[in-house]
């Protein structure tokens, strides 16, 4: 195997080991945060798929909510077993996004942004307004947890955050692989084309509207799946979990991390969550989280417009240049 390939393989192995060992070095509450972080990585990564087409939505977090509410209701009202309800919840988010695409894609850019916000708020209003089946402002409680898995010699209880973390991690990694494949495929290329020059794309036969819709639906489906992961972990959902403040957090992760690479938003999410949990919580400043996020957002736009991913890119370039070509001077 060539040197770069070995290095990549080694990095991935190292990452896998870290991800597996990680929860064991944490306190109980930190483990819970780790679960949320894992879920949020899927939220922000699926958001990025939409941004590939150049559209930024403010309704993404509500799509996560549609998945969460959907899966919760399918289990509670219809008695669908949990793993299946999660798939159905995710698909529901995709279908709702598809329906919303008709009014929303009459708009572009800023208008789309505002339109997506309005669409999301309407859905949230419906949740609040209709006690049956959505539970009104208090939402849905006592959602079925993910069922225990009995392997005979060992029983996996998903109430334990470590177990649920492993479960969420597997799902999220699988989703990231799929998102990555889509981006690297001809469909991903077409998304980029639609973003940079929709006129030219359309003139060579690309149905621009259909591709915008496709990106919206895929991103909503994965957001919905993230929502189901959340719902069956915390056991309760309510409209405030998916409000604009949460959306701003997602936006901040994406912008601070950068959206030109697949790892940008993930890094943004990890760093800001760490900052939030370690620095703010320790200092008792949790209430000021929106303010701090706002400041970080402004600072990163001003001083780091290319996002954290740019720093990583530079490190990778440095490694390529110095380590892989062996040009380090052994003076």
């Amino acid at each position: 195997m060539s040197k770069p390939k070995l290095l990549i393989l080694f990095s991935f192995l190292l990452l896998a080991v870290i991800l597996i060992v990680l929860p064991h070095g944490l306190s109980y509450s930190q483990r819970e945060i780790l679960v949320f972080l894992t879920i949020n990585i899927l939220v922000v990564s699926s958001y990025r798929l939409l941004t590939l087409t150049g559209e930024w939505s403010l309704g993404h977090i509500v799509m996560m909510g549609v998945g969460a509410y959907g899966s919760a209701l399918y289990t509670k009202e219809l008695g669908v077993p949990v793993p299946i309800s999660m798939v159905l919840g995710a698909l529901t988010a995709g279908i709702i996004a598809w329906g919303l695409s008709f009014p929303l894609f009459r708009m572009k850019g800023f208008y789309f942004l505002i339109g997506s916000f309005a669409a999301g708020e309407i859905i949230r209003l419906l949740w609040k307004r209709f006690r049956d089946p959505f539970g009104g402002p208090k939402g849905i409680k006592r959602i079925d947890p993910f069922p225990d898995i009995d392997l005979g010699f060992v029983r996996i209880d998903f109430f334990d955050p470590v177990n649920y973390y492993y479960f969420a991690l597997i799902i999220v990694v699988l989703c990231l692989v799929i998102l990555w494949r889509i981006e690297k495929s001809m469909i991903g290329l077409t998304f980029h084309a639609v973003h940079w020059q929709d006129k030219l794309a359309e003139s060579t036969g690309v149905n621009v509207r259909a591709y915008r819709t496709l990106a919206l639906v895929i991103s909503a489906t994965f957001a919905g799946l993230a929502g189901t992961l959340l719902a069956h972990y915390i056991g309760t959902v309510n409209p405030n979990v998916f409000d604009i403040e949460q959306m701003v957090f997602v936006l901040t992760w994406a912008i601070v991390g950068g959206t030109t690479t697949i790892y940008g938003p993930i890094i943004g999410c990890i760093i800001l969550t760490a900052l939030n949990e370690i620095v703010l919580r320790e200092m008792g400043l949790e209430q000021g989280r929106p303010l701090v996020y706002g400041l970080i957002l402004i600072a990163s736009v001003l001083f780091m417009p290319k996002g954290l991913e740019d720093v990583v890119k530079k490190v990778i370039d440095w490694i390529k240049l110095h380590v892989l070509t062996g040009r380090i001077k052994n003076v």
């Binding site: 494949r181 495929s185 991903g188 290329l189 980029h192 940079w196 359309e202 060579t204 036969g205």
Partner: protein, 255 residues
């Protein structure tokens, strides 16, 4: 030869301006057909109407016997009518190869399931093959990995045509393909257009470079103020008094 494109009584109004005003002409299959006229005559607007970028105020555009006016741009493209843009319009942030790959979109329609499963290798290899063929034809194979935005102006024009060509048009609408090219590049490009015609592609060409137009075209349509001025073979057009007047104003009697 039959007519591949028939434009009749086509009109487009922007507010008070009649950019195209009752224009009729036909393009014969296999020809290089010139569409010329002074600045603001309505040539680009005509392209926009034929390609579905604008909906006409009135009139009809037919591809052979089929009405195509009012169809959306990607539908018109699927019928085999592909246009380029007057101002270099490219995916500047993508590589030269990726630009042309987007052009192969209709030939190798991407599949979502293939993308999900990572099973795209075959169709992608074919698309890349097609793209490289086209890039080679336009002499761009040396630049495949460069960003389109970093190319020289002449190469950008050529890439615009390559993207269009990659989608296997029946008729190619080229809006001022020679602007920004130096004389040698223009010469080469003229040669390539002759070759394109030989492969059976019909070309409709808007161009201000009269040497190129006169040298290339089988027939020429002249428009002025959105209307048809005259039509004919290059020699007829070159010496037509109305055309000279439209281009040079009233100085035609000066010599």
């Amino acid at each position: 030869m039959s007519d591949i494109l028939i434009v009749s009584n086509l009109g487009k109004q922007f507010g008070g301006i009649k950019a195209v005003d009752g224009l009729s002409f036909a393009v014969r299959e296999g020809d290089i057909h010139g569409l010329i006229g002074p600045n603001g005559a309505g040539k680009t607007t005509t392209f926009n109407l034929v390609s579905g970028f604008y909906k006409p105020t009135h009139g009809s555009v037919k591809l052979f016997d089929e009405e195509i006016s009012g169809l959306r741009m990607h539908h018109v493209a699927k019928k085999g009518v592909i246009r380029t843009f007057q101002h270099s319009t490219l995916f500047a942030e993508l590589t030269v190869l990726d630009n042309v790959l987007v052009g192969t979109h209709m030939m190798f329609k991407p599949s979502l399931t293939a993308a999900f499963l990572g099973r795209e290798r075959q169709s992608r290899a074919k698309a890349i093959g097609r793209a490289n063929e086209v890039l080679e034809f336009f002499g761009l194979q040396a630049f495949v990995d460069q960003l389109a935005g970093e190319l020289s102006h002449g190469h950008q024009r050529a890439l615009g045509m390559a993207v269009a060509m990659a989608s296997q048009p029946k008729i190619l609408l080229l809006d001022e393909p020679f602007t920004g090219m130096n004389p040698e590049e223009t010469q080469t490009m003229m040669g390539l257009m002759g070759k394109l015609r030989d492969t059976g592609i019909t070309l409709l060409l808007v161009e201000h470079d009269m040497t190129a137009i006169m040298g290339l075209c089988d027939r020429i349509t002249v428009m002025n103020f959105g209307k048809l001025l005259t039509e004919g073979k290059p020699l007829e057009i070159r010496n037509h008094p109305d055309v000279i007047e439209a281009y040079l104003g009233k100085q035609k009697n000066a010599t």
